[in-house]
């Protein structure tokens, strides 16, 4: 009997290591971005405030620490990933949005909420891009700012036209938000049902214009074109607050 077991065990291991647990379903994280209600398309001019037209070239961010919630208990979904709209060059692509390629396996069941982090949590933010292979979301040298000892959590890059000549060459908007202080976490109450063997898609929508909110108006991007100074995080904090508040989740 022992011998049979000995013979079968390795085979069994071989088989089970490739097997999926069928008590589980999957969740897919999907993102849509708009600007003032219209699909967000790169290099497409949008009205900003009076007299300013804005043309976006990059909108991307780190997403981290995602968990499904149920009766106060957490089911981990994702540690860190990167979402970018930089390649969205027409309205169809914008309306299709960006979905993370991985479907995350979680126990089937009815959840009552989801938590997500915007940015790189402090533990991971203590590492740097050269610690990771190029395929890892944290391996992007373009998103590591040495002088800040931080990743760039959210990058919003645009050019503006302030003299109405149709050329967006009058200035740039470089809102690079990074450092532990600007990390934001958001919890959304949302019924999410994950069925055995099935995929549930959770869609997050964000209106990029909302990220510029300032009181009853919008940030003065001419006076404050960038957030490059780590010693002055006022705008970065505000943009990240706005981001957290603007994000809407739906199943």
């Amino acid at each position: 009997m022992k011998r049979i077991l000995f013979a079968i065990l390795p085979l069994f291991l071989l088989v089970t290591s490739c097997d999926k647990d069928d008590q589980n379903g999957t969740v897919e994280l999907h993102f849509l971005a708009t600007y003032d209600g219209a699909p967000l398309v790169m290099l497409e001019p949008y009205d900003y405030t009076e007299g300013i037209s804005i043309l976006f070239q990059r909108f991307n961010f780190y997403l981290s620490d995602v968990a499904l919630l149920k009766d106060g208990k957490e089911t981990d979904v994702l540690d860190i990933d990167f979402v970018e709209f930089d390649g969205i060059d027409d309205a169809n692509k914008a309306m299709a949005g960006v979905a993370l390629p991985t479907w995350f396996e979680v126990p089937a069941g009815d959840y009552d909420g989801i938590r997500i982090g915007l940015g790189v949590p402090a533990g991971l933010n203590a590492t740097q891009a050269s610690d990771y292979p190029s395929t890892h979301p944290l391996g992007m040298v373009s998103h590591y700012w040495q002088d800040w000892n931080s990743y760039i959590f959210t990058m919003i890059n645009a050019k503006i036209d302030t003299n109405a000549d149709g050329l967006h060459d009058d200035g740039s908007v470089l809102y690079h938000c990074g450092s532990d202080e600007v990390y934001r976490s958001k919890t959304v109450n949302l019924p999410i049902s994950v069925r055995e063997g099935e995929n549930s898609r959770i869609t997050f929508t964000v209106d990029l214009k909302d990220l510029f909110k300032d009181g009853n108006g919008y940030l003065d991007v001419v006076a404050k074109p960038n957030t490059h100074n780590i010693n002055d995080l006022a705008v970065a904090n505000q943009v990240m607050d706005n981001f957290r508040d603007a994000l809407i989740a739906q199943e």
């Binding site: 011998r3 049979i4 000995f6 013979a7 079968i8 390795p10 085979l11 291991l13 071989l14 790169m42 290099l43 043309l55 070239q57 990059r58 390649g87 060059d89 891009a129 050269s130 610690d131 990771y132 292979p133 190029s134 395929t135 391996g139 992007m140 040298v141 373009s142 590591y144 040495q146 002088d147 800040w148 890059n157 645009a158 050019k159 050329l167 967006h168 060459d169 200035g171 740039s172 908007v173 470089l174 074109p225 490059h228 100074n229 780590i230 010693n231």
Partner: protein, 375 residues
């Protein structure tokens, strides 16, 4: 009966181990004959050292570095046998002295015809993980190495001819055997040749002996930056508490490799609309108009050794490069947003940035005997 059981047990155990094993060394393929069988195949892994702070090496599993593989690659890289009239080798356009460029705006191939782009430095090629060439049209060093041989403006040959020459050669069959364990000269293939060249290119890594590396990666207390080099550093990296202007360089040429491997329009070409770039660059590869006129930001390591500059070699000196970034950038809708606002560097500040760029020079790399011509 008992024996069968043990055998079964052993076999299934083995199958388990094999399924999980990571094949490190290439296995010799099985053939019936073999004119090379008597030559020993004893692959010795090559332990590539990279400076501290560099990203992890990404070496394809099916082409591990071996001492004999690298040596074969070195011979192939320097051997004009690859070109149609046996006058040109890879090293004709990628010379060690120029950090593996040829210091020409564009390079003549064997027919004397110039390609439209400038030869690129191969320094730290192992880390070019986001596409090769100015436009990223090739994805791996193995795939890239197949192209120059048949390119009409480069070696203008065919791989059939090259393989015949290699098979009939006095030395190469044994070298392929030692590198890849083939049993017969018939098995010499373009894929194996490309693998060997790629292995050789992967060891073209910074030595860590540049002033910058000794100061910032090795923290060598005997190396001090001058005030001018520090000013250049502050502008290059946009250091927050510095009163100097932001030169924006690091957004695209970030440490430690001094490139992000990204594609950008840095304003080099004048174009009325996104369709009008003389060289579409990345756009011709992706088919996306938004990418027209974008090129890969090259490494700035050893930049003092690789003039002339840019994809078409239009700028002769680093002074011209800084002048261009400071006051010569052409607007287009996809001009990188970091370069829209003029940098506003003074003459002194331009010199300071150039002084910093000189700290990236690694002459030990250029003189590394492992990378030199074996003939």
């Amino acid at each position: 009966m008992q024996r069968t059981f043990y055998l079964f047990a052993l076999l299934s155990g083995l199958s388990f181990f094999y399924a999980c094993q990571d094949d490190d060394m290439p296995e010799p393929p099985v053939t019936t004959k073999g004119d090379l069988e008597d030559i020993p195949y004893e692959p010795e892994p090559y332990d590539l050292q990279v400076p501290p702070g560099f990203p992890p090496l990404e070496i394809p599993q099916d082409n591990p570095l071996t001492v004999d593989g690298i040596e074969l690659g070195r011979f192939l890289f320097y051997d004009p046998i690859l070109s149609s009239d046996s006058t040109q080798s890879c090293s004709s356009c990628h010379l060690p002295v120029g950090s593996f460029t040829d210091n020409l705006p564009t390079s003549p191939g064997v027919l004397g015809i110039h390609g439209k782009r400038s030869a690129m430095s191969l320094l730290n090629a192992a880390f070019f993980t986001n596409g090769l060439f100015w436009d990223g049209r090739s994805t791996t060093l193995e795939a890239q190495a197949l192209l120059p041989v048949e390119d009409p403006v480069e070696m203008n040959n065919t791989w059939e001819v090259v393989i015949e020459r290699l098979q009939a050669h006095a030395e190469y069959p044994a070298m392929f055997r030692r590198a890849f364990g083939i049993l017969d000269s018939d098995e010499i293939s373009r894929e194996l040749a490309a693998k060997a060249i790629a292995q050789f290119e992967r060891i073209m890594v910074s030595t860590g002996q540049s002033k910058y590396d000794r100061r910032f990666l090795y923290l060598d207390p005997t190396v001090e930056f001058t005030d001018q080099e520090f000013r250049g550093f502050d502008m290059f990296f946009d250091v927050a508490d510095s009163p100097l202007p932001d030169a924006q360089c690091f957004h695209c040429h970030n440490a430690p490799l001094f490139t992000t491997n990204g594609y950008f329009n840095n304003g080099l070409q004048e174009a009325a609309t996104l369709d009008d770039f003389e060289d579409l660059g990345r756009g011709a590869v992706t088919g996306a108009k938004i990418d027209n006129g974008k090129f890969r930001a090259p490494t700035l390591r050893n930049i003092a050794l690789t003039a002339p500059y840019m994809h078409d070699g239009r700028l002769q000196t680093l002074e011209e490069v800084i002048d261009f970034y400071n006051e010569g950038v052409h607007f287009a809708d996809n001009l990188d947003e970091n370069l829209v606002v003029p940098l506003g560097l003074s003459e002194q500040q331009k010199q300071d940035v150039i002084a910093f760029l000189h700290t990236l020079t690694d002459t030990s790399f250029v003189h590394n005997p492992m990378l030199s011509n074996p003939f």
